[in-house]
């Protein structure tokens, strides 16, 4: 990867890796510290136990045989391989016996456990060179213990802890134990821990790098695809590998979203085409009329007429415009504040009563079969508007009926739906695909082009039904057309 460090640090994978690595390192350091200090404490405790045992044994020897026996036991034990430290000194601190040649000053002056490990030198250790040349100076030479051979004694000597006691005759006795072994043990643990943690850290880093890199590649492919889509190619889709993982789920969701956007976009395009057509035509007419009126010489009354028809035409335009706005707002969703229980039966009676004179004038029989009361959740205004649009259509289209024109409004409960149907006995819409298209915006089927209206009545009714979680269906009524508004029934308490 030919990426600069800042660029790498911009990737989520690298940031996460760095964060994990830091956290991991912190934990590792804490772990090492804890383990070593714990083991040191355990070893110290063990050492103290050993020393206590020794002191008990020596005390028993002192009780049995006094100082001479004690000295003999001490000398005896001092000579054993890997022996502890023994020292008996007189009240002035002069070493009388034991295997300690020299000590840090002041160690034997305070009774009890030594506060800190102290350094010391055993007998014979300073004489190692002489030992090698075969000239042992004293018979009391201690055989070289394991640690002294592994580690040539330097000037600093060894570290030990010890218990300092005062014998009843005021002489000083020291029993101690070399710390070399625990210290080495600690060092080994520490090294092992450091090594394994280092390996784990490195391994983690490597694994994270590869995993992160793989994830990064997936994300990159998603962002490449989205860039293409942003570029205007709404048919593009994000890659789905089929692994069914989070990335696939994300891509699938985004793809569904894209499909919906594409659909809305398509709808929008269609609407703008239709708006262009259905608004431009009357606007052009309006403009032409104004121009023609201006151009010729007319009487005042002609001007008045031209202006009046201009106003009428613009009113129609405003109506169309309002309907478009209303449909798009309904489709965008509505606040629930506008819904309340609506008595559909009352609404049907209202609308039928409103249209009855118009129907009668058109020679259409408008009939309604309405039960006592059917209540749905909704907006009375909107339902009234939808129903009146449908009844209006019914009256218009039933006039072509071969029998006496008739529009029937029925309201009934079917299962858990409430169906409000308006059926006319006109020519209907015989073609299935035409019937499906009839509720699309601005669609006015060829036969109805000559009828007045914006072509938005049914689309508005459909939008209103969608808003009410209902449906608007068009079905053949043989003869004629049946427009059915289906509302979900209210839960009865």
């Amino acid at each position: 990867m030919a990426l600069s460090l800042p660029a790498i640090m911009k990737t989520t994978a690298a940031r996460l890796s760095a964060l994990y690595f830091l956290l991991f390192a912190l934990c590792a350091v804490l772990l090492v510290f804890y383990m070593t200090s714990l083991s040191a404490r355990m070893l110290t405790a063990q050492t103290q136990d050993t020393i206590n045992d020794e002191v008990l044994g020596l005390a028993r020897a002192y009780q049995r045989g006094g100082l001479p026996l004690l000295v003999r036991v001490v000398e005896n034990r001092s000579r054993q391989p890997g022996a502890n430290l023994y020292l008996i000194a007189d009240t002035n601190g002069q070493i009388l016996t034991g295997n300690v040649q020299s000590l840090e000053p002041g160690v034997i002056e305070t009774e009890g456990w030594t506060a800190e490990p102290f350094s010391y030198q055993r007998f014979g250790e300073g004489e190692l060179d002489r030992l090698r040349s075969g000239t042992a100076d004293q018979g009391t030479t201690t055989p070289p213990s394991g640690d002294s051979s592994a580690q040539p004694a330097g000037e600093k000597g060894h570290n030990a802890i010890a218990l300092v006691l005062r014998l009843p005759n005021q002489m000083i006795m020291l029993v101690g134990r070399d710390l070399g072994e625990p210290e080495r043990f600690r060092a080994v643990i520490k090294r092992a821990l450091m090594l394994s943690l280092g390996m784990m850290g490195l391994g983690g880093l490597l694994i994270w790098f590869f995993v992160g890199h793989a994830a990064l590649k997936r994300i990159d492919s998603v962002s490449d695809a989205s860039r293409r889509i942003m570029g205007g190619d709404l048919t593009g889709r994000l890659p789905v590998t089929g692994a069914g993982d989070e990335f696939d789920r994300l891509s699938e969701n985004l793809n569904t979203m894209l499909a919906r956007i594409a659909m809305l976009n398509e709808g929008l395009k269609q609407v703008s085409d239709n708006i262009a057509h259905d608004l431009k035509t009357p606007l052009t007419r309006l403009r032409n009329r104004a121009e023609a009126t201006l151009a010729g010489k007319h009487k005042t009354n002609d001007y008045r007429q031209a202006l009046e028809s201009t106003i009428a035409e613009s009113d129609q335009l405003i109506k169309t415009f309002n309907a478009i706005l209303m449909i798009s707002r309904l489709e965008a969703g509505y606040s629930s504040e506008t819904t309340s229980p609506v008595d559909l039966a009352a609404t049907v009676s209202d609308v039928v009563e409103l249209y009855e004179p118009v129907a009668e004038e058109a020679g259409v029989a408008l009939e309604a079969t309405v039960p006592d009361a059917i209540v749905v959740n909704g907006n009375r205004e909107l339902i009234g508007q939808a129903l009146s649009n449908i009844v209006d259509n019914g009256i218009k289209y039933s006039t072509g009926a071969t029998d006496a024109p008739k529009v029937r409004v029925t309201l009934e409960r079917v299962g858990n739906e409430i169906k409000l149907a308006v059926a006319d006995n006109g020519h209907g819409i015989p073609d299935d695909s035409d019937r499906a298209r009839a509720t699309e915006r601005f669609v006015r089927l060829e036969k109805s082009r000559s009828q007045p209206g914006s072509g938005l009545g049914l689309s508005l009714a459909k939008a209103i039904m969608t808003f009410h979680n209902g449906r608007l269906d068009l079905a053949p009524a043989n003869p004629g057309l049946s427009v059915v508004m289906s509302f979900p029934a209210r839960e009865t308490h």
């Binding site: 008045r304 009046e308 106003i311 009428a312 009113d315 405003i318 109506k319 309002n322 706005l325 209303m326 707002r329 509505y334 606040s335 504040e337 506008t338 209202d350 009563e353 409103l354 249209y355 004179p357 118009v358 004038e361 907006n379 205004e381 909107l382 009234g384 508007q385 009146s388 649009n389 209006d392 009256i395 218009k396 209206g453 914006s454 009545g457």
Partner: protein
Amino acid sequence: MTATQPSSEIAYNSAMKILVMEDDREAADYLQKAFAEAGHTAHVAGDGETGFTLADAGDYDVMVVDRMMPRRDGLSVIAALRSRGNTTPVLILSALGEVDDRVTGLRAGGDDYLTKPYAFSELLARVEVLNRRASARESETVYRVGDLELDRLSHSVKRAGREITLQPREFRLLEYLMRHAGQVVTRTMLLENVWDYHFDPQTNVIDVHVSRLRGKIEKGFDKPILHTIRGAGYMLKGG
């Protein structure tokens, strides 16, 4: 303007002082001129603050308030005026015309709501009906216009002493027309007040109802009483 001719006759007796709160200069000028032509006096406030100050100080018959204005929006101006005890009728003008917009507008203290774009004849008719001097009729039990008489308690209608039988809806239609006798009443006003719906009916449903009513109250009498005002609506006016 056809619409304003008959109403200006009436308006001569009832010239109103109108406060227009509208931030669009051109629209405000147009309204001022159009109201003047109809025989009313209109003052214009270009923003909410000025509108509030003018309304609080002046004695207006009706206020026309644009909902979206700089410095202070229309609804808050109305609410503030109402809380100060100002009861001047308010017509809210708005580009927002949804059902809940209307509801919030009326809840804030508006008396009527008109969506832009509107026809001036519609605005004028509504403003004249809102005029508080006209609302005094609300409490009368018997309305009389010319020789036409409507008793709101016994639900009976007589013209020149002759009983006329009306359907309940026809009665309410006539009642509304008589309450606003001498004023132009538009089709949407009738749909709103007699049927309680606020949408634009696709066909001339209201016209047919009115012409039926006209048949009942004019047939057999020599004088027309229910007049059609072209481009605006209807007016009930005695001879």
